[in-house]
């Protein structure tokens, strides 16, 4: 159903395969989060890998940054309908976190945890094989608190709420357990190309 009198902003057809349906491009970098921006102290920052309730390994900030560094330049898509092309991130690939403890993923599901009790669920297959990282830098500079600094998950092929800000741990879970936003109406998986925005979307 066309909307009477609506034509939209002019579209660049050469970008059609990079902008998912219902999204529009922004040059800015909007911020969305459920509460105030937490102030995280690097001296006490830790990152914990868990299997169920059991910690597998805990890294401090310096230790974490000694892991191999990876750069990723990707397009990102926020569920509130903005997309941003060619965002440049740097951090630690999830593959390298698992390699550091010599672990083969024991379950197919991860719940990523953040300070203040937020969480999001992501299948392991969407985190490995170079698809995702814990990002600590954006455009070459330390990640701003507003954008999830000092460290955020980056899973660019899913809607951006999956790229949990202020991430401080990954937990293997036996089942696909819904995270904070997923329990509040957002889709369990969040593929932007299928427009999986809200719980009921196919």
């Amino acid at each position: 159903m066309a909307t009477r009198g609506f034509f939209g902003r002019s579209r660049d057809p050469s970008l059609a395969d990079r902008v998912p349906p219902g999204q529009s491009l922004t040059d800015g970098f909007p911020v969305l989060s459920a509460g105030p921006t937490p102030r995280v102290d690097l001296k006490t920052w830790t990152f914990t890998l868990k299997h169920g309730p059991k910690p597998v390994k805990v890294w401090g900030w310096d230790q974490f940054n000694e892991l191999p560094q990876t750069k990723m330049t990707r397009d990102i898509h926020c569920v509130t309908t903005w997309s941003k092309l060619n965002t440049a991130w740097e951090g630690v690939a999830i593959d390298d976190i698992f390699a550091d403890v010599g672990i083969e993923p024991p379950t197919p599901y991860i719940l990523a945890h953040s300070v203040e009790g937020y969480s999001t669920n992501v299948p392991v297959k969407d985190l490995v094989g170079g698809k995702a990282m814990v990002a600590t830098k954006y455009k070459g500079a330390p990640l701003e608190p507003d954008h999830g600094g000092p460290a955020r998950l980056l899973v660019p092929h899913l809607y951006f709420w999956k790229s949990a800000k202020w991430v401080n741990g990954l937990q293997f879970t036996e089942r696909d357990e819904l995270g904070f936003w997923e329990l509040r109406g957002y889709h369990a998986y969040g593929d932007p190309w299928k427009e999986q925005r809200y719980t009921d979307d196919p």
Binding site: G5, P36, R184
Partner: protein
């Protein structure tokens, strides 16, 4: 609490358009598929161009749930150079149908049964979901202490001004604290600076206890400033919920 209504696309018919300020207008929509909603929730609208291109945006519901389930009020600010909001200001007319779905959002919500005290802090069009909460308090006959700290540019930019002043005037536990960041005239009882912790303290001064919850809504910069001011005023960060409109 989470709504279990299906999130199918439906059509809303514009019944009435009411100018609120020079830059904002309210749109009263009749829903083809009525839904129950909670104060603070939003809907997504979807506009379709003749070639099939679609633009979507989220808009908070301004009306109280008590006005439902077949009508909602949206209040949209015109952003220069924007794609969707100028459509609502320059093209949309009563009788037009708009695709939408909702209600959406299960975090930035308040029901009078949850109690209070409740502090609301809004900047510009960020007042819209807070208006739904204030109206819900009144419509449900709740006596929960509530204060709205509202930052606008000028007196003319105070969305829902008359209704808010009327609510404040009832003295039934709802307080309006206004701050106008670009007004030329000084007005009694109205601040003329950006939100700070002193202003937050004044807003919660009448409360019998610290607010049970604080709802902040507006641009990202505004929400950050309001969050910092609230934390400096002694409110625990865990009590604060935010909705950011971008920018």
């Amino acid at each position: 609490m989470q709504s279990l209504a299906p999130l199918r696309w439906q059509t809303g018919t514009i019944e009435q358009i009411v100018p609120r300020t020079p830059r904002t207008r309210s749109f009263f929509l009749k829903l083809s598929e009525p839904f129950m909603y909670e104060a603070g929730q939003h809907i997504d609208v979807r506009l379709t161009a003749p070639d099939g291109y679609q633009a979507r945006r989220g808009y908070s519901i301004a009306s109280a749930p008590e006005m439902g389930p077949d009508r909602i009020e949206l209040c949209i600010e015109e952003l220069e150079g924007g794609e969707v909001s100028p459509f609502f200001h320059m093209v949309a007319e009563p009788g037009d149908t708009i695709e939408l779905r909702g209600p959406l959002g299960g975090h930035f919500i308040w029901s009078s049964e949850e109690g209070g005290p409740i502090l609301l802090i809004g900047g510009g069009s960020g007042v819209v979901p807070l208006m739904s909460m204030a109206r819900h308090r009144t419509a449900s006959g709740s006596k929960v202490p509530m204060a709205l700290l509202f930052s606008a540019r000028t007196w003319e930019d105070v969305i829902f001004r008359d209704e808010l002043l009327e609510m404040h005037g009832r003295r039934d536990g709802f307080d309006l604290v206004l701050t106008l960041t670009r007004d030329v005239d000084k007005r009694d009882g109205v601040h003329a600076r950006r939100i700070d912790s002193g202003m937050v303290m004044q807003a919660i001064d009448q409360f019998p206890a610290l607010p049970k919850r604080v709802y902040l809504c507006g641009s990202n910069g505004f929400v950050d400033a309001a969050a910092n001011a609230s934390i400096e005023a002694g409110i625990p960060a865990t009590a604060i919920r935010t909705e950011r409109y971008g920018g």
